[in-house]
Amino acid sequence: MSRLWSWAPWLLALQGMLFGVSAVAMDLTALSVEELMQVEVVSAARQSQAWSDSAAAVFVITADDLRRTGVTQVAEALRLAPGVDVARIDSSRWAISIRGFNGRFANKLLVMIDGRSVYTPVFSGVYWELQDLPINDIARIEVIRGPGGSLWGANAVNGVINIITKSASETQGALVSVTAGNEERAIVDARYGGKLGESARYRIYGRSARREGFVDPQGQSSSDDWTMQRGGFRLDWQPSARDDVVVLGDHYSGDMNQNMVVPMLEPPYNEHRLDPVTARGNSLQARWVRNYSPTGQFSLQTYYQNQEHSDLQQDVSLETFDLDFQHSLDLGSAQQVVWGLNYRHYQDHYAPVALSMVDPTEATTSLFSIFGQDQIDFADARLRLTLGLRLERNDYTGWEWQPSARLLWMPTAQQRLWGSISRAVRTPSRVEEGRTTFFTLPLLPAFGGLPAVVTGVGSNAFAAEKLTAYEIGYRNWLNEALSLDVTAFYNDYDDLLSATDGAPYLVTEPAPHWVLPLYFNNGLNAANRGFEMAADWRPHPDWRLQLAYSHLWMSHPQRAWAPADQVSLLSSWRINDTLELDAWLRYSSSLLVQTISTLGTVTVDPTWGLTLRLGWRPRPDLELALVGANLLSDHQLEFVQEAYTYPVEVERSLYGQLKWSF
């Protein structure tokens, strides 16, 4: 086991799968055959590098982490990763970003599920409530902080989150899981996996979730309850030893009650409304990978997805078609080259609603990109240089280039030091471009006793937002029970979205009021810097501690909407063969959110969160758990939406989980 040093700390992540295995001698014989089939190996034939050898800031949330934290939503689990700002706006809405610039409409974070982008160009951001995947089907979540534009294309500015679901061969048989509690009212997952002939496996699944609403700062119910229904399938087929085919599809349908404060032209000029939001969507995806030689691989992927989202702010339908080709090959023993082409097509339709009007109502836009990357090993393979470039053409700003250069140094077996310089862009959405207007909050009686309404106006001259990022990182596996990962970064942003006040003008219809136009432009530059640390320590074979700490210095805290300090500490303790006791403590320092509302800039006080989980596995096919989340306060404010702001506080949640496989 000469290579044990490099695996050992990461093996600890398997803790929940390992029955009675010591940290020193990882004994794979303790795994069942099903579990062995899930273990990834490093083989001589196809060189694959552990993420620990990456010249980027990567954190992997494993299926076991998802189980031990007792989370019921993907979004919640991201709090484990250093450098990720996760804040819950209300029961269904989340604000999630990396290294600042958070918000309901955080627009610099790319999120993908099995290689399919769920970043929506409708408003440049992610509807997290719609990504309510069955937690049991997730293999891992890869959180990559820092620009990923050269690889993944536009909008991977502050980071990329890849949610990767289990293959069908890992989910054979039937599984039923039920969660019920005071907030998580009823979440039911059902899954079945089987074989189609000898070379194909499939699974089908369904999920239904009903969640309770939270409360306002006075402790009164905010009625923001919601439901999500989801179903889908996955097929993994190996038509031959060198071909892999994956077909995935899903459908979701959600009804969410969201609180909004909307403008009125009569006193009291704004009104609290409970907005019944509906969202539906479908996706179908297919991927074919051919390993044409031990070191060469082609892949071809296509997907189609549609979504409809209707609320007071927007009533949008969007269709996306994506086609992606990649080719990787080795040039000699020291160079690995990857290149690829991507085409994406969007078709949208915006129905006019009370709070916004997008002009034109329909548009067809497309993206085309080409990328290449070369990874070169030198100095006895102790140094690795990775150069990448993506050229992407979009209909708003034309060609954008996103290069990156990364250098990794492996001075000893236990240490990695890396640095990178990279550039990424965030391309405009329809709302910022063109003759868009939105009707936001009236500022209270402004001039001459008349109300005033703020209107955002897009511009065809709006350019892409740009980031040049400088990063440096260091990893050390101090011993088999302790590892450390530290990253520091300097992010230099140019041409960020800003708005210039125009001259107010008087409108008489439907009632006399002032209009304060806000013209969108690229008037803001910013610089954020910070560091992140992840430590993984196993003081005892049955006890593991995972610590994440991050600090952020923001040049414009009133714009970055992120806490300066964040801590997450997860303790996973296996009491005996059947019992687990897990505790997850989180801290987030105060933050500012500059709202377009009568509340102005909202200060969110520091928050503390504690989750306790007691898990019991009386039989291998049965798992029961009791979970208490947000235990330290009856309710607390984590964030507010930046417009139509209505503060909602996250309540304490107690629930039980039952998982039965057969």
């Binding site: 086991m1 000469s2 695996w7 990461w10 093996l11 992540a13 398997l14 001698a25 990882m26 794979l28 014989t29 795994l31 055959v33 062995l36 089939m37 899930q38 273990v39 990834e40 190996v41 490093v42 083989s43 001589a44 034939a45 196809r46 694959s48 590098q49 552990a50 993420w51 990456s54 992997v60 494993t62 099995d114 290689g115 891992r140 990559i144 990923g148 690889l151 993944w152 890849n162 990767i164 293959s167 061969s169 054979q172 000898e198 190996q238 030893a241 892999d244 990978v289 691989q297 892949s299 992927q301 990649q326 990787s328 690995q336 990857v338 990357q373 990874q375 990775t386 990364r406 990794l408």
Partner: protein, 174 residues
Amino acid sequence: MRVLAIGLQLLALSGMAQEYGEYEVKAAYLYNFARFAKWPTSVFAEDSSLLVLCIVGKNPFGDALDALAGKAVDTHAIRIQHMTGLPGVAALRGCHLLFISRSEQGRLPQLLATLEGLPVLSVSDIDSFAQVGGMIGLVERDRRIHFDINLAVVQRSGIRLSSQLLKLARVFDE
């Protein structure tokens, strides 16, 4: 996620957090195969008889087999025996589980012919091992180790494999 994996390889991230050496995993499979196999009763003289794992050819496991030594399947302690050259029927009869190294690819037809009908569970990671008449072939797919079983050959040997194992395998019937 191969497409992702390709992408990730660019950043050199493609491996996941949990990675093991190929042969550490294969050694663990051997142990599991022994647990899920039932040999004809005549094979073990008594409850305390050893369960012999033979390795034919160049040993690819390094010290990964050390994890198996000292373990037992039911009442039978595992013993590991390395074989050189082309073993004959008598020598093979002393094995319960036989791992055929890739180094023996050229001699595979002769070896399989000798093994025919013997109550020896043959395992190998030689390409298409189960298809060409071996019992259990270890195959790598998507960076994970899966296995093929040639049920007809297993049945002729008198060994019975648990349905739990068959459920997870790609099964060939000759």
